[in-house]
């Protein structure tokens, strides 16, 4: 769950004449995580200590001069950099009092932005698209700057991203309604141009946000019709592609826009699942577009929202910076991974070979109620775009599952499953499973284990699509189907997990995703005998694995050591007082205690030799530098 904490005001703002303009050009960080460098829209740069909400320093250019780009902090030289009147780059240090006396250099072309990020050299992006390292630019300020963009192309937004040894400058441009993304890699310099897919309305994106995840650059952009798209560009490896590429996109979120279109709004990616949006109406509030909301893009759920009058947002280190009215507010936020979110990563241990294809989790309300589909939420990278899925119940005809006997239903399912179109299948499988479950619950004689198993094995189902399925299989003691569900459903609620536990113990249960807080109350429902049995089983599994760690073959579905230990801890937490009193648990508990003791001892021993091991590592490095070697080099 994401939560917005109570905000506070960092500073007052001067109201601009045009209300839709931000009174702030930019907010940047410096080396102290508690500092914020705020550049206002006219002449001054102020450094704030965020926790104290007080300014530490302020620098202003002379009357008549104008700051044209947000000040940034050069993390390498510990200096601040700003551009005034498009062409004059000014560099100063913390201790400099007067900006006019600071170092300045005039360059030959208009600067769009200076970008700086920890671990990278600052980069200057010119309005015509050329990119230079600040250092090399300042060493020869009068160097000619080439035009990269065509004449009428203008930069709308830019960002720089520093990944391990890679430095990127991203910027988007607009020309005659066509938007393009440029990805400039530095050292070696390569420029790649991508064309963004045109929105039907012909509108251009209102805001962009870029982030780096899993060695991919993620670009998130918001259109006036409320659609938030994401595009992914590989960060690693050289893209040997000439010319302009079409940039595939996927719909992450469709925001409710109310009447008309959005005017000024902005979306910022917080982490892989959460997006902060301002300037968009709250779905439950009737009027007004002045909300700050955090949406979960995986589940299309609204996580938090506050009403204020604002339209810009910046995000740094767990804090949202939002100018509104006459003040700049800071709102800390938290994005916790819930059980649902963890279905997409946390506890699906990567060591286990789960299914090869990723599980596509459709948005259930769309699928069940057949209203306008919003598309799958889990992005499938290869897809060029989200097709408009127009498929209803009527596609599956005839419909023996409504009334027909078991074998007829079986046949229908086989036909359906053998169809190739994954997109359509996803919908119809969900529909069909729901119908079958509903019918089974109504008619006690009707139960189609094979058909259901087949449906589950398509991997288009999940618990939330068909909530009754797992419970139904439990009812019928169909453990095969249970196992299958546990194996393939990413989103089984903790209460159901515990219900499964009560009936049978498996490997599979241990591997279901859960979150501690939700599981604990349900675990308490288990009775003592079940707990003891379960603990014994866990101990058995643990001992088995600890004896031969390497026999865990990749193909075999077995819980990891961590998962086992986690479950042991949870069980003990839930039932410790009862277990202490139970005489038949005594042996088990003392075994566990001695085990913990031995573990603690092992770790302390490991801790002791840690530094020696590190030394070994260093020694290996120094050996590389020998007094003499014969090497082969290649020059091009």
């Amino acid at each position: 769950m994401a939560t917005l904490c109570e905000g506070f005001t960092l500073c007052g703002l001067v109201q601009t004449q045009n209300a839709s303009d931000s009174p702030i050009q930019g907010i940047e960080l410096d080396e102290d995580s508690d500092h914020a460098v705020v550049t206002d829209s006219t002449r001054s740069v102020t450094l704030y200590k965020v926790s104290d909400q007080k300014p530490l320093g302020s620098w202003t250019v002379k009357q008549g001069q104008l700051l044209t780009c947000p000040a940034v902090f050069n993390f390498q030289t510990k200096e601040y950099v700003v551009v005034s009147d498009n062409k004059v780059i000014r560099v100063w240090k913390d201790e400099d009092l007067n900006l006019d006396k600071a170092f300045k250099a005039t360059v030959t072309a208009d600067v769009w932005r200076v970008h700086s990020a920890p671990g990278g050299e600052p980069v200057v992006l010119f309005q015509r698209g050329a990119v230079r390292f600040l250092d090399s630019l300042l060493s020869a300020p009068q160097q000619p700057i080439e035009d990269v963009l065509s004449e009428e192309e203008v930069i709308r937004w830019s960002a720089s991203i520093v990944a391990e040894e890679q430095h990127f400058v991203l910027f988007t441009t607009e020309q005659n309604g066509e938007c393009c993304l440029y990805v400039q890699r530095l050292n070696p310099n390569t420029l790649q141009k991508y064309r963004l897919e045109r929105e039907d309305s012909g509108a251009s994106p209102l805001s962009f946000s870029a982030s780096l995840r899993d060695k991919h650059l993620n670009l998130l952009y918001l259109y006036p019709n409320g659609c938030v798209y994401q595009s992914v560009v590989a960060a690693r490896g050289y893209v040997g592609l000439e010319g302009v590429q079409d940039l595939p996109r996927s719909l992450r979120l469709r925001l409710p826009v109310g009447e008309g279109e959005l005017g000024a709004a902005s979306a910022v990616a917080l982490d892989e699942a959460h997006v902060a949006v301002v300037g968009v109406p709250h779905p439950s509030a009737r009027t007004g577009k002045d909300f700050l909301c955090i949406w979960n893009t995986n589940f299309q759920t609204l996580q938090a929202g506050i009403l204020r009058n604002w339209s810009f947002v910046w995000c740094y280190l767990g804090k949202l910076f939002v100018p509104h009215g006459k003040a700049l507010s800071i709102i800390p936020y938290e994005c916790q991974k819930s059980s649902l979110a963890s279905a997409l990563g946390k506890l699906r241990h990567t060591g286990i070979a789960v299914s090869k294809s990723s599980v596509a989790v459709p948005s259930w309300n769309t699928l069940l109620h057949g209203d306008q589909p919003q598309g799958p939420t889990k992005i499938v990278e290869t897809r060029k775009s989200v097709r408009n899925v127009k498929l209803g119940v009527n596609c599956v005809q005839p419909q023996p599952h409504q009334t027909g006997p078991v074998d007829e239903v079986q046949r229908e399912v086989e036909v359906l499953v053998s169809r190739g179109d994954a997109q359509d299948l996803q919908l119809s499988v969900g529909q069909l499973a729901c119908h079958l479950v509903a019918r089974s619950q109504a008619e006690t004689a009707f139960y189609t284990p094979v058909a259901l198993a087949q449906l589950v094995q398509t991997q288009f189902l999940c618990h939330s699509v068909c909530p009754g399925l797992l419970l139904l299989s439990l009812e019928h003691k169909d453990y095969f189907l249970c196992q299958l569900c546990l194996q393939l459903f990413p989103d089984i609620p903790e209460v159901v997990t515990c219900a499964c536990l009560k009936t049978f113990i498996s490997n599979e249960v241990l591997q279901t995703p859960y979150s501690d807080n939700f599981l604990l109350p349900h675990l308490k429902d288990l009775d003592t005998q079940q707990v003891i049995l379960f603990l014994q089983y866990l101990q058995f599994v643990y001992l088995k694995y600890s004896q031969d760690v390497y026999t865990q073959t990749a193909g075999l579905r077995s819980p990891t050591m961590t998962q086992i230990i986690d479950w042991v801890c949870l069980l003990l937490d839930a039932h410790f007082t009862v277990l202490v009193m139970a005489p038949d648990a005594k042996g088990l508990l003392s075994n566990l205690q001695s085990f913990v003791k031995s573990q603690v001892k092992l770790f302390s021993e490991l801790g002791k030799i840690e530094s020696s091991l590190q030394e070994l590592h260093k020694m290996k490095l120094s050996k590389d530098i020998s007094q003499y070697s014969i090497e082969v080099i290649e020059l091009f």
Binding site: I630, V632, I633
Partner: protein, 685 residues
Amino acid sequence: MGEFKVHRVRFFDYMPTAIRAMAFNAHTERLALGRMDGSVEIFNFADHYFQEKVIPGKDSRSIEALCWVGGRLFSAGLNGEITEYDLENLRPKYSLEAYGGPIWTITSNSQGAHLAIGCEDGTVKLFEVLEESIQFERNLDRQKGRIISLSWHPSGTQIAAGMMDMIRVFDAVSMLTTVLLVDRGFGGSKSRETVVWSVVFLSDCTIISGDSAGKVQVWDGHTGTLVKTHLVTKWDVLALSVSKDESSVVVGTSEGTVIQFQFIAPTLQQQQDKEWVRTRTFKNHTHDVRALAEIETAIVSGGMDTQLVVRPLLEKFDERSHASALRKIQFPHRNLVFCAKKAGLLLFQFPGQLELWRLGESDGHGKPGDSLPLKRKPEKLLHLKRKGEDHICCSALSSCGGWLAYSTMSSVRLYRLQTDNNDISITKVPKLPKILRSAHQLCFSSDSSKLFAASSQSSVLVIALSQSECKYVHTLKPKSGSRQPIHLMTNSVDGKWLATANSDCEIHVYNVQKLKLHCIVPVYGSCPSAMGIHPTTNNLTMVHADQQIFEYSIVEKQYTDWSRKLQKQGLHNLWLDRDTPVTHVTFNPKNPEQILLHDMHMFCIIDQSLPLPDQKTQFYNQMTLRSLSEQERPSHLHAFKICKTFQDLLSVSLLDDQSLVMVERPLLAITSQLPAPVRQKKFAT
């Protein structure tokens, strides 16, 4: 372009010695630097800090202080002698015993008429500077305790002397002395005497002192009172230097810091009440800062960590440029490594000895990036200690590996080397021509039949070598009448041409067969730092301290078309921005288009057949080219192929078997051989 097999050599244990003293001559913009081994180096600050001259050291000489009087350079040291240097012949002109025991300091008055020295026996001795020498004039009042530091008042009538626990001010007119008592340190150091390592005497009679208790003290010379004490370090304040306008003083400490004090008003309201305020701290050294000079736009510092640091004062620059960058001079701007290309031998020159090594061998081939297995390890064949007190100033190895020569200030020695398989025998050539007494540069002709020795007044002695004898042939003299020493000398493979370069930036080309001057290359404003004659075209390639490259056709006596094209288009800014000079030019006989160059941080092959890079071209493009496909590459190629894989380079040469020899001396290895720096308490240690 292709693959190269590289002998990566890191066994040259070159170790520069600590910097002890420096003196800057603002008029000629020359910095004189004295090192612990008694050598003196002259850097031309007007020409990209080029190390123009080196006067080799001597075992018995020590330098405690250096001082310019006009264009004349004097030093004094703990051997008790004052030495004046002959900057044209790169040797001491004369040395004078001062009869006061070890000398700690020497300084001249601003008029340049007198020198004052501070002696161990407590005397300050005044010497009159005469046309060709100096003459003792008188002793100032003899004191108890040694005189460590001295500073003249700009008027020349008063002199301040830093001593143990006190500063004395002598008045030459009234003959009175004033005593300023310097506090001792606190705690345990209370019992130790405080050494006043350095004093400066300003025109407003303010005296600033730095002492071994870590204090910088400001005194009023009129009243003899202490105005202000700044405790700047727990260790010693070793050196002080005042700017020309007396608005700033820099201080060097044992911690390796340089601290600036400025004479400014501490508040904006009272602009009249100026005082000395500590303003900036620079930390560019790891060890004692023993020598300092504040020049017009920069602070120059040096010390135990052997490097010379030029730290520009950014407020003196309007915009950030090449000149405003921090510069560290770590390696000499001349060759200490000589390679016998045919024989695969390396000669390393140390001040006290020569080392001859045979390179290793490997078999097999490898992919780029591979290290090949060694079939034979490199082997040290010879360790030749010099004779006498004088340090080696130059040496040479013939390309066949059969001859070896070195010179000190007082003698030249020539050896015949014979290697059969694993045995090496060395024979000293007994009778050298009498005229061959010392040389600034030595080189053998490529067929090893001649030895060229650069002698005084830019002349070159030609010596014929044969198995039986060694005969003086001729002296090649320049027409210009320059008195400056030759610092570069190279000859052509066909044995016809010899080119020399001197500190006047003149390059002479001689016809060795006719034994006469062939031509003078048009004089360029920056000193050549490396040059070489092409083996097939006989074009002379010169690289200057300002990084410009010229190619001159010796046969046609004019610059080549390529050179003109290069000058017309201009070199790439990134090439011009490099801060170490090219110290070696060589060629690839198998591929006449290629010129091989290197400086401390890179190695470069210039391919003259490729287009020159313009300012928009990506200059360091090897990584990009590597990532491109075979078909795309040609459109991205340009003439400068720069490899930065090898760092801290002292020498690059190409053997006859087409393999490269890169001699690296990692700075880290130099640092690790330095004594431990003063202990600094770091948090949580």
